[in-house]
């Protein structure tokens, strides 16, 4: 791998231990994947934030670093709403550790914005062709596929290293040749809302880490594509996909039609909604959670509309980024009038608060795939209306 004079000197420790190690991480990954050089990035989104995931080991590592990030950098969702963690049933011990993790990142110049939807944030604009170092799998999928930017799925330390150096190694999805579709997916049936998550859940299991090219009759909106990509990244390892006539890059590239075609029928999608993953006991659903990935303003509005004149008798979480919530206080108020909670900075998958429940219904293919294994809670999928119905007073049905 070619290194500039300055990169060599950084690697020799001339600019301190933190930058030396950060560069060593980038170079090692570049060597492993056959990168030719380091390339500048526009922004970083860093995983390894929830204290539930990284523990004392991760906290210690981040705290031991010094210096300041060179590009705009934000964080993945944390293990709790950073302000109203008590309402979630989070212990004081966990909260203290979680806030220490956030502080350690802040000390490095990282914005303490914890979200899997960085592309909604002001001042974090992502454009076609931009090179990024993002971590969260659904954000990576959205950036690559819906926006046409370029990022690999970075691990926590490598995204932080990239933010500190302002560069990443040039391999994988940064290169044209790895962005070609490698499998076709044909979907003729009509799709709406959570169907895209169910579709992604099915396709991800089938295609692994390949690059699917969808041919569909439905016309997905950006929120639909967000659900589709998030689910494929969770049940499989899809970091980039194309939709014929919809996503930007397939319309500009000279694409070859893949040899293999997968056909998904309406019946398969309907079946996803009938499955319960994990052991839910006899109690049935005790919580519904929406906003995986973090809800957009449009999604908050839909949820607020559906919750009008309804009373939540069990529990309903709506997860979003703090910035989107703060831009739309009226929507937050309308949602919370029903008894639902709008949670920021966190989600049902990364928060230990989920473990208090037995059985969760979600409208997200991603949450559906992760909940049983990561949170020891049974999971079921439904559309927004079904999720709300399961946790509302029965006389309102």
């Amino acid at each position: 791998m070619y290194l500039t004079n300055e990169e060599e000197r950084t690697l020799d420790g001339e600019f301190g231990e933190t930058l030396r190690k950060a560069t060593e991480i980038l170079v090692a990954l570049g060597d492993i994947y056959g990168a030719d050089q380091l390339i500048p990035i526009q922004s970083a989104q860093i995983a390894g934030v929830s204290y539930k995931t990284i523990g004392d080991a991760g906290l210690e590592w981040i705290s031991d670093l010094t210096g300041t990030v060179k590009v705009p950098a934000i964080l993945n969702p944390a293990g709790m709403d950073l302000e109203r963690w008590q309402d979630m049933g989070i212990s004081e011990t966990f909260a203290r550790k979680q806030l220490e993790v956030i502080q350690a990142y802040k000390d490095l110049g990282v914005r303490p914005m914890c979200t899997c939807t960085p592309y909604y944030l002001e001042g974090f604009s992502v454009q076609y062709g931009h090179h990024l170092a993002w971590s969260e799998s659904s954000a990576v999928s959205y950036a690559n596929s819906v926006i046409g930017a370029r990022t690999n799925r970075e691990g926590g330390p490598s995204a932080l290293a990239a933010a500190l150096v302002g560069k990443t190694a040039n391999y994988g999805y940064h290169l044209d040749e790895n962005r070609q579709p490698t499998v076709s997916v044909s979907v003729e049936c009509e799709l709406s809302g959570s169907d895209y998550g169910a579709l992604g859940y099915l396709v991800g299991k089938d295609v692994g880490n390949r690059v699917p090219l969808f041919n569909m009759n439905a016309r997905p909106a950006p929120d639909d594509l967000k659900s589709l990509g998030a689910a494929m990244a969770a049940s499989g390892a899809v970091a980039l996909y194309h939709v014929e006539g919809i996503t930007p890059e397939i319309q500009r590239m000279d694409a070859e039609q893949p040899d293999e075609t997968i056909v998904i029928e309406k019946g398969q999608i309907d079946e996803v909604y009938t499955n319960i993953l994990g052991e839910d006991g006899d109690a049935g659903t005790d919580i519904a959670a929406l906003g995986c990935p973090h809800a957009s303003a449009t999604e908050l509005e839909t949820i607020a509309d559906r919750l009008a004149n309804r009373t939540i008798t069990k529990q309903l979480w709506v997860c979003t980024s703090r910035e989107v919530a703060e831009r739309h206080p009226d929507l937050v108020r309308r949602i919370e009038e029903s008894g639902a909670m709008v949670l920021c900075d966190t989600c049902m998958v990364v928060s230990p608060a989920t473990e208090q429940y037995q059985s969760m219904i979600v409208n997200s293919g991603k949450a559906f795939a992760y909940l049983p294994g990561m949170c020891h809670v049974a999971a079921q999928m439904g559309d927004v209306d079904e999720c709300i119905r399961k946790v509302c007073a029965p006389d309102e049905d």
């Binding site: 060593e24 991480i25 990954l29 492993i32 990284i54 004392d56 210690e60 590592w61 926590g156």
Partner: protein, 152 residues
Amino acid sequence: MNVSERCVLLMRINCRRIAGGEAQGRILLSKDPISFLGNVDPDTGIIVDPQHAIYGECIKDMILVFPHGKGSTVGSYVIYQLSKNRVGPSAMINIESEPIVAVGAIISSIPLVDELEFDPFEVFHNGDLVRVDGTAGMVEVLTPSNSTREHD
């Protein structure tokens, strides 16, 4: 006894450097890949997965040889935790390194090399004394294990 004073160089093997630094110690071979999150107890350095090829072995201060890492990326932090708890390996040798172990080794300052010019599972035996130079990309085989083991 201090083995470093008595050792004799027997063989020098070229390899690819992944994480810099030098370390000397005894070989522990694991034919199974290692998921540091789950397979290893971060407080003791003992392999705790009963299904694992080196179940019950302690990796503390060993030159740990395994094909590659696997499992959660949190494994990188577990390597850091092992190192902070002083129960981590002295160095690691892979057939083919992947990002979890590579990043873990770098943040923990544990030398790591891969792509040896000979198959490490053929040339090394448990207990062999070696020196890993992760900066130069080299493994040196020192006095064979049987000549020093009697002093252990």
